[in-house]
Every structure is written in structure tokens, then in C-alpha cells.
């Protein structure tokens, strides 16, 4: 499962565009990763500012603003 650091995110939508299973929702200032995420990593790779990462990696950074739905 992929997680987002909403504090870091610029809400540009690049991750939504590459997501092959339509599992990312983008609001004005909020990103949601939906349950049917297949962990393909495309969103993690395309993000220009390293906002997304596998949850395990994020937990290590003690990020506060994880959004998982």
C-alpha cells in the first residue's frame, strides 16, 4: 500500500495521471489513495517531490499526515 505525505504534496495530479487502476483521488488540497491500489509504484516514481512512498518507508519518517482510505 502506498501512502501520501499531504503536508508535502502540491496537488498537481501527476500521480493520478499515471495510476493504471484509478486509485488516487485529488481534491483542491488533499490526496486520497483508495483501497484498490496495486502497489505498482508508478505514482511514487513520477512524483517530482517525493510525496508518495510505500507505507513502510513512510512510517520510518514518522509522518503525521498520512491519508489512507
Amino acid at each position: 500500500m502506498i501512502g501520501v505525505i499531504n503536508d508535502k504534496c502540491d496537488f498537481c495530479g501527476a500521480c493520478v495521471a499515471v495510476c493504471p487502476v484509478d486509485s488516487i483521488e485529488l481534491y483542491e488540497a488533499r490526496i486520497k489513495i483508495l483501497k484498490h491500489c496495486i502497489d505498482c509504484m508508478l505514482c511514487v516514481w513520477i512524483c517530482p517531490i517525493e510525496t508518495l512512498a510505500p507505507l513502510e518507508a513512510l512510517a520510518e519518517q514518522e509522518c503525521e499526515a498520512l491519508t489512507i482510505v
Partner: protein, 391 residues
Amino acid sequence: MRSAYDCIVVGGGPGGAWAAKHAAEQGASVLLLEKDREIGVPVRCAEAVGIAGLKAVIEPQPRWISNIIKGAVLVSPHGKEVLIASESAQGYMLDRKIFDYDLVQIATMSGVEVLTKAYVYDLIKPNGAVQGVRVQHMGKKVDVRARVVIGADGVESRVGRWAGLRTNIKLKDMESCLQMTLSNIKVDPHNIYLYFGQDVAPGGYLWVFPKNENVANVGLGVSGEFAKTKSARKYLQEFIDKRFPNAAVLYTVVGGVPCAPTLKRIVADGLMLVGDAAHQVNPISGGGIVTAMLAGQIAGEVAGKSLKTNDLTEKSLGVYARQWHKREGKNHERFHKLKQAVYKLSDNDLNNTADKVLKLDPKKRTIGNIFKAALVHHPSLILDIAKAFFK
């Protein structure tokens, strides 16, 4: 807001504004929905536009223009500068905040209604054909019906996906972009600078677009293929640390630019896609303002005419797809082919190209001739270059 319109446009960028305006001019009732609270903000753009291209869609107004660009300087990996000063390289630095705002304002003068902070979360399509949108606005969920919906909802387009069109993009065709507006720097205010090379921006380029001699949009795009191992942020930070160590950062913005050919299907029953949502960006430059407005204009007109004959089927709306293909889509296919070949070139090939082009008469230093020199070992692409640049 009414409960039904002839046409709903999702997205208030240049493509959406122009689609809305042209549909309204055909007599359609039009509602434009924008998810953000204000039209024109945030600016997700490097803000440079060709003069000839802009004039083809609208008469430029002084208040949109922050700087006039005389030429483009291409910088090779070994630092050789190739100046292109032909007419096709002349441009404006736009103030997109004011520009986008004005385009929507112009559209409202044709009767277009606007709703901001309106998040479209689904389509109404009871029997396959799109018949409206489901909107979240001010804490309420509302269904608004439309005879035709135009999705101008950007690179992240989900309107298309809900209608069954595949709008997602391949990683290699997506440019992972980051830009900072830098101040307290010293730049050439008359020319835009494009830097190429594996160390600078693999599978893309880095740009320095001056607003004046002390302020510039400095950013880059890295192909998703390469962003895998090193992010756009790291590439840009390295360049800025080296070139502009004393810069102050006035604004940072992130984005994905779809540098691909236009989507195979950009219309469905009751639905049309416009702009980044349809992948109507020039795949070589990454420029998408004028192309989106052009597509918006065609889409709006076709929507208006289809409304009059009450035929909103994919077949009827397909006139838009065909006209777009003839006008720009065909050329974008060639550009995409050339882009792929150019991004396979090594730094050494790029250096040799720069050396070769610098020997040409400055009058012959056109984009077309540069591509010819760069792809001299790709004879199969000669015809594409000729058709793309020497029409």
C-alpha cells in the same frame, strides 16, 4: 446554478474557458465548474508561449504579458549555446494568473455560468451515454444534468476514465516537472534558455524563462522513466545550487506534463475531452496553452452544433476529434516520434549536434535544421522532420 444545462465544462483552465465560450456562442447554456477556489490559481506553468501560436487563438493583451522573448538559446551538455532567433522562437512570458482569469471572464460575457470550489466526483450516465455530472460543492452533493459534458480537467483527468476513455499515461511519456520562480539572480532577459543532458534533465530539459533580468521561472521536466531513480527535485536543486546559489525562491510549483500523442479516443456519447486531459500537449516542447485553446474552440463549436441537431452521440461529436487531428494531432504524432529519438541521443551526440549547428549560417539555425542535424543517423525520420517543420 440550475439543475440542467446544455453543456457542462469541467475545469477552468484555458482549454475549458475556450470550450465554454465557443459552445455558448452557438447558443448553448453552459456551466463551467472549477475545483479550486479561484480561476487562474495555482499557476502550474512555465508561462512562455509563442507569439504566432497565441495570436492564432486570441489577440494578446498587454496586461497578460510580463516579458517579451526575442529568441531561444539551446545549451548542450558541454555548455555550447545555440541561439535561435527566427520568428518562430519569439514569444511572451505570460502572467497566467491574469491570463486564465481573463479567459474565463471573456467566456462569461458570452453567457457562461461559473462555479468555483466545485469538485466533480462522478458522471451521470444511466445507460452508457454521459448525461451530466455529480458535484460536491460547499459540503453538499448535487447532480447537474447536461446534454454534453466537456472534460477539461487537466492531466489528472478522471472525467474521461469514468466515461470509459483510457486517459492514463505511460510513465515514459509523462514528464515529472518542478519549477521555482527565482529572484535575486542575473539572467539574460531577452531569451529563454533550454538546457539538455543526462546530468541536467534526462528525457526532458531544464528551462530558464526570464520575467526580467532579476527574476525567472527556472524548472525542469524529467521523463518518468528516469525519475524512477532520481527525482525532479534533486535534479533542479543541483542546478540551482550551482548556477544561482544566492537566489531567493518566490514560488515553487510541481506538475506532470503529458508528452504523448493525443489519446486515441477523445469523445464518447455525450462527452468530449480537451487539453491536457486529452493529451493535447506538444510532445516536444511540453507547451499546452495554445493547443488546449485551439482544441477548446473546436470542441465548443462542435458541441454547439451537435446540440442544435440534438445528436450528441460519439459519432456526431467525433467531428471534433477529426478536426483536431487534422489541425494539430497529426503533427503531435510526428513530434512524439522525434522526441523519442532525440531523448535516446547520448550527451556526446548532443554535443556534436551543437557543434554542427553552430557552423550553420545563423539564419539557418531553425528548430527544423537542428532536428535534422541531431537525427542525421536516423534516415527513417527525415520525412517526419520535413513534414513537422518544413510545411
